[in-house]
């Protein structure tokens, strides 16, 4: 019998060896593949909610945009809840962190850092295990300035639109607000039913509060685009003082249509010729259509691309997809668009319209603010930066930093200085006198673009201080949709410029 008993022992060892092999397979060899199955999402989300997710802080490192708070409900499966102390003010930037609808915004873009799973946390996590400290996600420090954001919201008031403020010296986003926004708390905490209800009302809202007008949508830029046409002219060594014919209407070749100035007015009082700087200050369409056609499609498309507008093959009635990658940003965004050169072959009227921000040109407040920043800083186009660094929540030690990056040099410093002077003229005696700030030189450019659905969209882009030897510290891009408070009578100078003024003032006053 003993022989059988020993054999039985060997059989048991063999059976258990099979178990060990399978354990090693499921838990180590194939573990990553199995754990990544979509059906395992509830476990992954629960694990995420068990970690104290990192804070998202403003540039001052004290204002909290998002943080995790211990769940007061002991019966809940989730240990922490995500809290956004100022509700909708930062909603479109932080995004939401929802156990049902996932993550967006910085919550998504910075998730590996906020949840503490990024490779940079390896040593920290090990230390935490050894010291028995609970695992905490990293603190994300943004470039955002709360008082500028608050001013932007207040200045927009009840009007749909968006405001972006950028630091021209490095591309840091100081503020980026779009109205209507949404409160991410409604998607992050509460019962599943409450979250589902909040989601339904957000996605069925015709004003699309989940989409930021500041960087996730595109609009005809109108006259703000003249900054790009003027850049191309200056780069082509046509000085601001160069004079251009000044007809009442510019008859377009190949068709019987013409281009007229805003409100069908006479530019420069109807003089037979006008300088580029004067035409810029008064925003004469006729002149800039002439300039664009004189430059030709190649130079215009090259300048637009240098400013980071992507090439498109225009499609009737919608924003065509980009044919090339352009300015990178941490959040998913829409870069400006300009048709590829071949689109203008034998199509002079399109080139004329494209030179004044019509036809298939598209921009948004973030992109125009980046363009204004490049002009303001002497010709360097920076990638927009929203996060400067991530720090360890427990020790405060930096974990990773994000340095400013330049995208390119769309214009020389000479051209930039000339264009800056032209933009100062816009505010001092042109279309944007409402943007004047006592004691501060402001440079700007207005825009008023037709809107298929109703009153025009009012644009303004600006930077300050803009004196000859001054370094600009803030550049802004503003859009007010559907004419704001003026409706059909709206212009960029009247509706958008005062908003930019308030935002710049709020930054310079205490900056």
């Amino acid at each position: 019998m003993d022989r059988q008993i020993r054999r039985l022992g060997i059989a048991f060892v063999a059976l258990f060896a099979v178990l060990f092999a399978q354990v090693a397979y499921v838990q180590v060899v194939a573990a990553d593949r199995i754990a990544a199955e979509p059906a395992n999402a509830p476990r992954e989300i629960k694990a995420e909610y068990a970690v104290e997710r990192g804070q998202i802080l403003a540039a001052n490192r004290t204002t909290v945009l998002a943080e995790s708070k211990p769940n007061q409900d002991p019966a809940s499966a989730y240990k922490y809840l995500r809290d956004y102390p100022t509700g909708e003010l930062w909603g479109q930037l932080t995004g939401y962190y929802s156990r049902i609808y996932g993550r967006t915004g910085l919550e998504q873009a910075m998730n590996p850092y906020l949840s503490g799973t990024a490779p940079e946390f390896a040593t920290q996590n090990l230390t935490d295990i050894i010291l028995g400290r609970p695992k905490r996600g990293g603190t994300v420090i943004t470039t955002l300035v709360p008082r500028v954001q608050a001013t932007a919201r207040k200045a927009l008031g009840s009007h749909q639109g968006a405001v972006v403020a950028v630091d021209p010296s490095n591309g840091d986003i100081l503020a980026m607000y779009s109205n209507p926004g949404f409160d991410p708390n409604t998607l992050s905490s509460g019962s599943d039913q409450q979250i589902e209800k909040a989601w339904q009302s957000l996605i069925s809202d015709p004003e699309k509060p989940l989409v930021s007008h500041a960087f996730q949508d595109l609009y005809l830029p109108g006259s703000t685009f003249k900054t790009i046409t003027a850049s191309a002219a200056l780069e082509n060594n046509w000085p601001p003082t160069k004079t251009w014919k000044n007809p009442h209407h510019l008859e377009l070749p190949q068709t019987d249509t013409h281009i007229e100035n805003f409100g069908d007015e006479l530019c420069a009082g109807g003089a037979s010729e006008v300088t580029m700087e004067e035409a810029f200050a008064e925003s004469c369409n006729v002149t800039f259509a002439e300039i664009g056609m004189a430059l030709g499609a190649d130079k215009m498309t090259a300048q637009a691309q240098a400013y980071g507008l992507c090439r498109i093959a225009p499609v009737e009635g919608e924003a065509a997809p980009c044919l090339n990658d352009t300015i990178p940003f941490i959040l998913p965004w829409e870069t400006g668009r300009f048709p590829e050169a071949s689109y203008f072959d034998n199509n002079e009227p399109a080139l004329a319209r494209s030179s004044i921000g019509l036809d298939n040109d598209l921009l948004n407040p973030l992109h125009i603010a980046l363009i204004a920043s490049a002009i303001a800083n002497g010709g360097t186009l920076y990638d927009p930066r929203l996060v400067t660094e991530v720090r360890d929540a427990t020790t405060g030690q930096p974990i990773t930093t994000f340095d400013p990056k330049d995208y390119g040099h769309p214009l020389t410093s000479t051209s930039a200085a000339e264009l800056r002077q032209m933009m100062v003229g816009v505010v001092e005696h042109g279309t944007a006198t409402l943007a004047q700030i006592p004691g501060v030189t402001v440079a700007g450019k207005t825009g008023t673009s037709a809107n298929l659905h109703g009153p025009p969209n009012a644009w303004f882009t600006a930077f300050a201080p803009a004196g000859p030897s001054q370094t600009a510290t803030i550049a802004v891009g503003v859009i007010v949709l559907d004419g704001g408070y003026l409706g059909n009578e709206a212009t960029g100078g009247q509706v958008a410029a005062p908003i930019a003024k308030q935002v710049i003032e709020s930054y310079l006053r205490q900056g």
Binding site: M1, L19, V23, V26, I34
Partner: protein, 454 residues
């Protein structure tokens, strides 16, 4: 004589020291696991830690002392291993039930573990010599079959999750199959111990047993199928037949029985598959647990078990820090997956190794005893435990279709705990030999020593 006596005394001292040290280690590890699960779950040491620790230590060490008194030469490793398995299981149950806000279920299991300890000691006290049991071959056998079939009796039998293996006596619900299995093992050890030569000698054509010797194996097969058909309990059926075949083979040494057993098992399994939709569902779930259209449905429990194991990885999330409560019946059938998620591959390997220690010690006892009944009893009890661990672990790991049997000593379940305690007690008693005989021998030894010394 004196040399032998001295060796015995030294061996006893070493055994005492080993057993006590191992028991203390088991107590520390168990209480530590209890503290850690509270820390992981609620960020604080559980409120009842001191009471729990003291109670656990007193009971475990008290149990060790009782075992030493009642079965002095018992295997020193078995008891501490059982304590550690029970303690780890209890800590995990407190963690699982705590997360579900029903800590009282875990407390209930703690009481059952204490009852199990009491039953272990009582068994050792009552059964002074295992060979006493050899005298009641058929009484025990009948009692075992009766317990096995009790759930079929209308009125007291209760069906839970499609299997009719519970009986409800109003004040208490339990699974008589657990107890019945032990009685049947005792019966088989007795029966086969007496008949082994007969069964081994009888060889017909092709090395097969003669038709008249096939009776017992066909009977066992029939009983297993009956359990499967009437109670729809695949696990119990499999264990019953498995332990019978193993004991028959060990007793006779004839491979033919093993082969025949496997053939009969295959037939039974195939017939069971054809006859029962719930068997088909189990097989289908086993094969297709991860299919996208089944992963949240038939395959949910198995896929969640795999997800738990995979999420645990090498070292696990730490006690109280995973999400094992996503697995249905995680406290009973799937407790191994909970260990896998929170203690990782190393934790699962440790738990399985503890069982392998039990199996190893059990078979060693079988080899060391000289009486056929004692040998077969140790083999049977060990096989029941080892096979049960394999069946549920392999089921959770998706090596075989899942059959719901508890992980002995670890899983949720009062009956299972008590039955496992009896099994451990029988192994302890077998290894220690008869109580009264030892006592007499000790007296003689002392006299002998005195005589030699003088």
């Amino acid at each position: 004589m004196s040399a032998v006596a001295a060796t015995t005394e030294r061996t006893r001292r070493v055994r005492t020291r080993t057993g006590l040290t191992a028991t203390i280690v088991a107590v520390i590890a168990s209480v530590l696991a209890f503290a850690l699960q509270g820390l992981g779950l609620n960020d604080k040491v559980p409120a009842g830690l001191v009471v729990y620790g003291v109670a656990f230590a007193v009971l475990a060490l008290g149990g060790w002392y009782a075992v030493r008194r009642l079965a002095r030469d018992a295997d020193p490793v078995l008891y501490p291993t059982a304590v550690l398995l029970g303690g780890l299981g209890l800590a995990m149950l407190f963690r699982l039930m705590g997360a579900r806000n029903h800590p009282e279920f875990a407390t209930e299991q703690a009481v059952w573990l204490a009852i199990g300890l009491g039953v272990l000691v009582a068994t050792l006290a009552l059964v002074r010599d295992v060979r006493q049991l050899d005298a009641y071959t058929y009484t025990i056998g009948l009692a075992g079959v009766a317990l096995l079939l009790l759930p079929i009796v209308p009125g007291i039998g209760t069906e839970i999750n499609g299997a009719r293996l519970w009986i409800n006596l109003g004040f208490i619900t339990f699974q008589p199959a657990e107890a019945g299995r032990i009685l049947i093992v005792i019966f088989l050890a007795s029966y086969l111990g007496q008949r082994r030569e007969l069964l081994a000698a009888g060889v017909g054509r092709f090395g097969l047993p003669r038709a008249k010797d096939l009776g017992p194996i066909l009977l066992a097969w029939g009983a297993s199928l009956l359990v499967l058909f009437l109670e729809r309990d695949m696990g119990a059926s499999l264990l019953l037949f498995g332990v019978f075949i193993v004991m028959l083979w060990v007793a006779t040494g004839r491979w033919a029985y093993l082969v025949l057993g496997l053939v009969l098992f295959a037939i039974g399994a195939y017939v069971g598959y054809l006859a029962f939709s719930h068997v088909q569902v189990r097989v289908d779930a086993w094969l297709h647990a991860m299919d996208p259209n089944k992963v949240a449905d038939e395959g949910y429990q198995l896929s969640q078990g795999w997800f738990a194991l995979a999420s645990g990885g090498m070292v696990g999330t730490g006690l109280g820090l995973g999400s094992p409560t996503l697995i249905p019946y995680v406290g009973s059938d799937f407790i191994l997956a909970a260990f896998g998620e929170e203690l990782g591959m190393l934790g699962v390997a440790a738990v399985l190794l503890l069982y392998l220690v039990v199996v190893g010690r059990g078979l060693r006892i079988a080899v060391e005893r000289h009486d056929n009944f004692e040998k077969l009893l140790a083999v049977g009890v060990t096989t029941v435990l080892g096979l049960q661990v394999f069946v549920i672990a392999a089921g959770v790991l998706r090596l075989i279709p899942l059959t719901g049997v508890p992980l002995p000593l670890v899983s949720y379940g009062g009956t299972s705990r008590v039955a496992s305690a009896v099994a451990i007690a029988l192994l302890l008693r077998t290894s220690a030999g008869p109580y009264f005989r030892k006592r007499r021998m000790r007296t003689t030894t002392k006299e002998a020593d005195t005589q030699v010394d003088v």
